[in-house]
Symmetry: C2
Subunit: 986 residues, 2 copies
């Protein structure tokens, strides 16, 4: 048999490491068939120590039916995993290396690393389990005299045994590590010998079982009442023996009675009242013992093994704690047994691990693995039935064969001799331990060499002889942990967990890829289905939680931590992970979901499109725009950064990419999380229009545009700069988007500054949807603006009841839950301007303002005169007024609205240029007031009037804005889009 | 006290229903303060029957420490929920109505409906619990004689009691329903009376407890050995009594011995061997009994209550099952007690339910609710300690007070008389039942009126008197279910589940909104934190699973089903749900995650941008393009449908929206799940360039453009149609996108057709990245094309080893895992064209082809000559060759590549027009061959040559394509973008 247990991936690493000499060697052509390459290695890996040391005990405790259930659960779990694994393994040229390579290359480095380490830990603990098993065979059945620690009393016998295990286990581990370090080749040579041992042992069990049909072997057990006696220290199973015609008390009686005095008064109560009987430990296949072993008989710790059929008089004997009876050494339950049995089903990866050696991996791996699992499952099923139908229940439940003169229980059944199994299982267990100890460091080395887990880097190095020394050392240390636990029954569930985690991920990988229908998911193995993988995944999860929910949680936390660590370290490996496909699907689903309806006004939040200007060297001209955007978003919501490159698209691909990179770098610096969109257009203005139209996708559309002020437009001879600005303002209006123009953006605070005091002043002149109220609130969520106070300035008529107004506004703000200082109403000279409490859409706003304006000098015209949107106003369906302070006011306003248009039209009949001088006067006056009150404010928010309809007035408009904001350090001009609303409702 | 138990929302409905009369009434101004409006109603709702009927028993079983833990868990859970609720309730004007309104308006109808129904079911079962409690008080303590069923033997006493409960419970429920139906007003009037009962009862407990410090009440209990005797049927607690100077056996002895024979031989064994003692049931506060009651003493079912301190001789008496001893009626455990106690902590929503009546709801709700919870928690804590330190353990554990002459246990402690508590608790319980029965139908009515759960619609109607008759009927039926369960201890965990579900969602709503930082989340109540809400959520979940994991699962499944049902019904309510914010965050996160790196070639899949043409009426011209796109995607991956509207953006908003609607409708019809993007541009060509540039967002970008063929370009006099076509082809090339042009798209199959046979023929002429191989594979995933066979035609040189070639290709396809028939190489006349095995980027493709072309008549020129991209080829960094069949071939090709440019340049020096005639000849020849071989194919896939660089050749290029595809029914012209690759690796 010419296979080895080293994964091919690890081998490759070794080969790489070995010097030139090996390079000159022609690589062996892969030429193994299914039998040698997959079937037999799988077989050897699956069969393990549990079959020999614990299966009889499991059958005894759980009964045949529940044992079959345990075997069925474990084997169907591995079978389903094998199916998923076959699909993954046949999806393309199989990468050399086992589960780790398969998962990491198909689900990405994070999952791969987590699974790889789980598999590594599982294999490491498996080596500990094998060593413990070997020592158990050695100390219990081969050379019991070798024990170092001896129990001083019966209670201490357990701990003495555990200490023996620890000492011998550690010695054995060290020896094995040395063997692995020195001579891997010899270990691999012996693989076939180990396999032979296993097969011979199993055959001898079958032989023994069938022989028992006619000639059951002679292993009498001695019962006192219905209690099983430890067959130790007495020969004859009777109360008295006839010694030279005299009936004298037997050795048995002597141990139950006070020495020297054999009268019943000085003997144990239970001994007195019950008879001693001798029964056969192996009644044989034909005896019908199967009926007694059919159902479970779980025990509490220390419970004495009793045979149900025998008569027993209940009496309270004193000898119960004295080691005379065979008792259960641990409490058993179905769940515990699942955890102990599961390691017998692992090892299914052995075939895929040597994919590199196979002639036709895509055929051999599925066929060989599934055949091997079928074979082993059949052996387990038949063994369970045979054990149950050949062996007496109390013997089955007797874990260490105390009742049968400390023979291995399964050994008593075997033919020709118990020694076949004892020696066979010893060697196979030692071999399995050696192989685990060989495989685990190489797996660790392979993971370390992938460099996805930086702190493992040291384990990637090997010595000149190719041995991964450090990895071996770590493996030894972890295995030593397992050995210090010392109990096979405690270690088995631990390794079950890690293997189950690994299998879970294999199933997950298959299910995810099938469901996502990635185009590269085309496994040659056709008999997979996502439902099977999903079932397998559920079974893995179920088995984990069944066998031990806290271990399961710990294993999952470990796997999760590894995952997060690798993600945090930012594994650069781009292995084309399936998770990316998952993200894609998730993003698509989320976007489609968002698109269902327009967002409710309650949910309105600014989704920014920031229009950046780039200079000739493709540097961002005003990076503070980005800073301000990041402060406004405080890390939440959508931000798209758009820019236009002037040129012809067919020639400007490179320039476009450079610009994108520049902007992305700047976004990184300013900590803006969002997307970048560059457009090449022959005219900047055109590019901006297209950006405003087509940025975003589905429900992720911008609703607010942020752009810089065209500084120096007065000096520039080229009118394009401010023409583009005004055009953009018009576009945002046409697209119903809100607009923000931070002026003097270079004076805006960086993300490192902190305002410890000062005000954010809102000049609430046009009482629109409330965006002016919302923006300071959002800004104050960011730490730069946190300490600022918000002040609201509003404008009143001379004859208004200002006290009541202020009270009303305060109440309104209270209900809005926005904390702001309301500054005493500012009285506008002799205007009869009034303030409007309504939160209306843009349209109704114009209506109302138009209706309310009586004096043409009034301030509100600033907003209304420039907009010139009368047609749209008339055409637009009257949108519902969203909120008023009270119901009455709302109704009053609604009534007013009906007679609005006439006034409005009258107003509009004025030629725009007629009022230019007056308007400018208004701007100067208002600016005076604002500078007077807000000169020391950290930020001043102002309504931005709409641009004139005729392009003739453009220059005046720009001048108007300049005059309005003159002398203020930081101004944010805001223009609502008609949809943004702040409500008093939640 | 002028509060009612009806939610304000339900009230509003009532008011609406009542006729004009009520409309004329001026609405009562909300004027309740914190005390009357929130604190007292909460107090009354929280205190309940459990305090009187079960708390002593809980203290007895769980011990003081664990009882405190239970109280702490339940109360901290409700306290955390109250904090979350306060935040939600103070976020804006509080909507009238309770938890249902709050949740549905902040998390959306799905969650709202699920929570509302959970709350409804909880309230309904609460009414059942109150009725059962009232009946228990009535039958056990008030009028025991009223029992209808009597136990025939002791074993049957439980079931007799249950049957009594069922009968009386049903009667009581009917009566209450009638009362509710007839006179809600009276019920509400009595609310203050019920509260008074509760408060008096609690005060009497405290009074009794403190009185016990000096004068403990006299309630002797009789013990036999350490067992507690049922104080029933005997007066004197002694074995003998002295009757007229003669010592005669007491009544007690008579019941333990055979009648008439009082000698010890005929008496019960245990009775003989143990003494009878009498101890005080209430040793009082100062007795130190607290030490005995400190720790838990859980019982199995039927276990006899024993006092630990008393002496007892163990003997097996015959009377154990004869009702002489007080025994546990159910098995108890910590988890069970949690479920039973929890209803005592519910009721915290009572305050927020009457938000409409409050003067300042934003202040009163948090303060009142939290104060009420604090008060009740303190009462519970102190009660636990007082009970534990005043009452004897066996009495505490005695659920029905059997040992104290069937007195209510807590009654024995109270002062001045047990009757205070018995009567007080009876009335308060009846009152609570009435109120639950009043509140539940109104809640159901409110949910039904929201019309989010269609099948509940009938319950929205009320009768003329405002009573929700049908809802009351349903509530009665569900409550009857609870009453048929008959045991308070079984019903309590059920309602716990529903309330916990409700609280869980309240916490979830608060946590989600806090974490999402939605701008409209500005609660006035500041002392919330997402971590607290999260903790509360976890506690709810933990309590659910602690008290009963299967009930928990059932409750969650019910809630989940309601959620899914409402979602499925497509609730139209747009309440601005927080879940939308969650989708937004999820989409943004997923998109940002996708953007991290370019996708791995392995993950490449077509992400389509379908360019649709609209006619003048804005109808889709070739809807089959969409059909084909949907077939190609088979429901997965990204599809963006783009179209251009010609015009000026400032004027075309309406047209744009109409076009979008038209396309969306068509997408719906053709079942294309994707996004739609309309662009208004002055020229169509410009619009298309911008679409190609700026569609998609972040990682969701298209990589393939699909467009129609400009049919009738030859007839049309306007050259724009085909100029636009060629320009788009050039753009896709510049943007490195793949291009697909289905020709004769109207003949393509609809989604309803099924091809049962036939071929998809691939003419693999330019051996590019493998897109030609991938597309048929993807198409075959759709059911229309499933049954088609894929055939690959490729071209070879005359002198090639065609057998070997075919074998190689077959092997290649095997490793690709694509099933296709390879058609015998087609020998191109005397060309020395060769085929290339490489899967290279577009650039390297051109390189290689140029290098390999020796004869200028060869076919490959079709690809290379037209492309004319030499500069870009030279500039572009040599991209890595992605895959070759074997390593050697790859290296050979790489070597070849190095001397490619020279040949290429030589080739390119030819003027394009020189070879026009020859090229056309090539096209005719090739077309002949294709038609000959593939005339009956279902679909023919062809490489599309690149357009000429000089626009002069455009017309020739179009002609060339026409000739090439002439006579074929369905042709798909494919042009790779250089990134799409099919790999043999997984």
């Amino acid at each position: 048999v010419s296979y080895t247990n080293i994964t091919q991936g690890a081998k490759e690493h070794e080969e790489e490491e070995s010097a030139e000499a090996s390079r000159r060697k022609t690589p062996k052509s892969p030429n193994m068939g299914t039998l040698m390459g997959v079937y037999l290695p799988c077989l050897q890996n699956i069969f393990g120590v549990i079959l020999f040391l614990r299966l009889t005990w499991i059958v005894g405790m759980a009964g045949i039916m529940q044992s079959l259930l345990i075997v069925l659960m474990c084997c169907s779990c591995t079978m389903l995993t094998a199916i998923s694994m076959s699909a993954i393994a046949t999806n393309g040229v199989v990468p050399a290396g086992g589960a780790y390579f398969m998962i990491s290359r198909s689900l990405g480095p994070e999952f791969g690393g987590a699974v790889g380490l789980c598999f590594y830990l599982g294999t490491t603990f498996a080596s500990a389990m094998y060593i413990l098993g070997a020592i158990e065979i050695f100390l219990k059945y081969l050379v019991p005299q070798a024990a170092i620690f001896h129990a001083t009393d019966t209670l201490g016998s357990d701990s003495a045994m555990l200490n023996n295990m620890r000492v011998y286990g550690s010695i054995c581990l060290s020896l094995m590590a040395v063997v692995v370090f020195v001579g891997v080749k010899y270990v691999n040579k012996l693989a076939s010998l180990f396999l032979a041992c296993v097969i011979i042992s199993i055959v001898s069990i079958y032989a023994g079982a069938f022989k028992s049909l006619t000639h059951p072997p002679e292993f009498p057990i001695c019962m006192l009442g219905n209690r099983t006696l430890v067959r130790d220290g007495f020969d004859v199973c009777a109360k008295t023996v006839i010694k030279g015609n005299v009936t004298v008390p037997s050795q048995l009686s002597e141990s139950f009675c006070l020495p020297g005095n054999m009268s019943s008064a000085h003997c144990d109560d239970y001994f007195n009242q019950n008879n001693v009987t001798e029964i056969q430990s192996i009644p044989g296949l034909g005896s019908g013992i199967i009926r007694e072993n059919m159902w479970s008989d779980y025990q509490r710790k220390g419970e004495i093994l009793e045979k149900a059929g025998l008569q027993s008089t209940d009496a309270h004997g004193a000898m119960e704690n004295f080691g005379m009876y065979v008792s259960a050494d641990i409490a058993t339950s179905f769940t515990l047994l699942v955890g102990i049995f599961f390691p017998s089903a692992t090892g299914i990866m052995a075939g895929s691990n040597r994919s590199g050696d196979l002639r036709d991996a895509q055929k051999s791996i599925p066929v060989g693995t599934i055949l091997a699992i079928t074979t082993t499952s059949l052996v387990y099923f038949s063994s369970v039935v045979l054990f149950g139908s050949c062996i007496e229940g109390v013997v089955l439940r007797d874990k260490f064969g105390d009742a049968v003169r400390k023979n291995l229980v399964v050994g008593t059944l075997s033919w020709p001799s118990p020694w076949v199994i004892v020696i066979g299982s010893f060697f196979s267990t030692v071999g399995a331990g050696l192989q685990s100890l060989t495989g685990a460091p190489r797996l660790l080395q392979a993971i370390a060499k992938d460099n996805i887990i930086p702190f493992l880097r040291v384990f990637g190095h090997g010595k000149t002889n190719g041995e991964p020394t450090w990895a071996l050392l770590l493996t030894g240390l972890i295995a030593e942990l397992g050995i210090l636990i010392a109990s096979l029954d405690m270690v088995a569930p631990i390794l079950s967990m890690f293997f189950l985690m690994c299998y879970l991920f294999v199933n997950l990988a298959c299910a995810v890829q099938t469901l996502l229908r990635t185009p590269n998911w085309r496994p040659r193995f056709k008999y997979y289905h996502w439902a099977l993988s999903f079932l397998g995944m559920s079974m893995c999860l179920a088995l984990m939680f069944i066998s031990s929910w806290y271990y399961a949680l710990v294993a999952m936390v470990i796997a999760g931590m590894i995952y997060k660590y690798i993600e945090y370290q930012g594994a650069e490996k781009e292995w084309g992970d399936g998770i990316r496909g998952l993200s894609l699907s998730a993003a698509r689903y989320a976007l489609l979901r968002l698109e269902v309806g327009p967002p409710h006004t309650k949910n309105w939040r600014p989704q920014l499109l920031v229009l950046l200007k780039l200079d000739e060297d493709l540097h961002v001209k005003y990076p503070r725009l980005l800073t301000f955007a990041s402060q406004l978003k405080a890390g939440k919501g959508l931000t798209i950064v758009g820019s236009v490159v002037q040129g012809n698209f067919l020639d400007s691909y490179g320039e476009m990419q450079a610009a994108e990179q520049a902007i992305k770098n700047m976004m990184e610096i300013e900590r803006v999380k969002g997307f970048c969109q560059i457009v090449v257009a022959s005219k900047v203005r055109e590019g901006i229009v297209h950006l405003i139209q087509s940025c975003g996708l589905g429900g992720m559309k911008h609703n607010t545009v942020m752009m810089g002020w065209p500084y120096g437009w007065r000096q520039s001879e080229d009118p394009r700069a401010w023409k583009t600005f005004i055009n953009t303002v018009r576009c945002t209006t046409a697209a119903h988007l809100a607009l923000m123009v931070p002026k003097n953006v270079s004076f805006y605070p960086s993300n490192h500054e902190r305002f410890t005091d000062g005000n954010i002043d809102v000049w609430w002149i046009v009482h629109d949807g409330g965006m002016l109220m919302l923006l300071p609130f959002l800004l104050k969520l960011h730490k730069v603006w946190k300490k600022c106070q918000m002040r609201i300035f509003t404008v009143a008529q001379m004859d208004d009841n200002s006290i009541q107004m202020k009270k009303d506004l305060a109440m309104f703000l209270y209900q809005l839950r926005i904390e702001a200082e309301i500054v005493r109403m500012y009285y506008w000279y002799n205007s009869n301007l009034t303030y409007i409490y309504i939160q209306a859409s843009l349209y109704s706003q114009w209506h109302l303002q138009a209706q309310l304006v009586k004096d043409r000098h009034s301030l509100v015209r600033m907003g209304s005169l420039y907009s010139d949107e009368e047609e749209e106003v008339v055409e637009a369906p009257p949108e519902k007024v969203q909120m008023t302070w009270t119901r009455e006011k709302c109704e009053a306003e609604r009534r007013n609205r009906n007679n609005a248009p006439e006034n409005f039209r009258e107003l509009m009949s004025l030629k725009p240029d007629q009022s230019n001088v007056r308007r400018m006067h208004t701007a100067v006056k208002l600016n005076e007031v604002i500078v007077n009150r807000s000169h020391d404010a950290r930020l001043v928010l102002l309504n931005m009037p709409g641009p004139p309809r005729n392009t003739d007035g453009d220059e005046n408009y720009m001048e108007f804005l300049e005059v309005l904001t003159e002398g203020l350090e930081r101004v944010l001009l805001v223009r609502g889009g008609g949809r943004e609303v702040i409500t008093i409702y939640s």
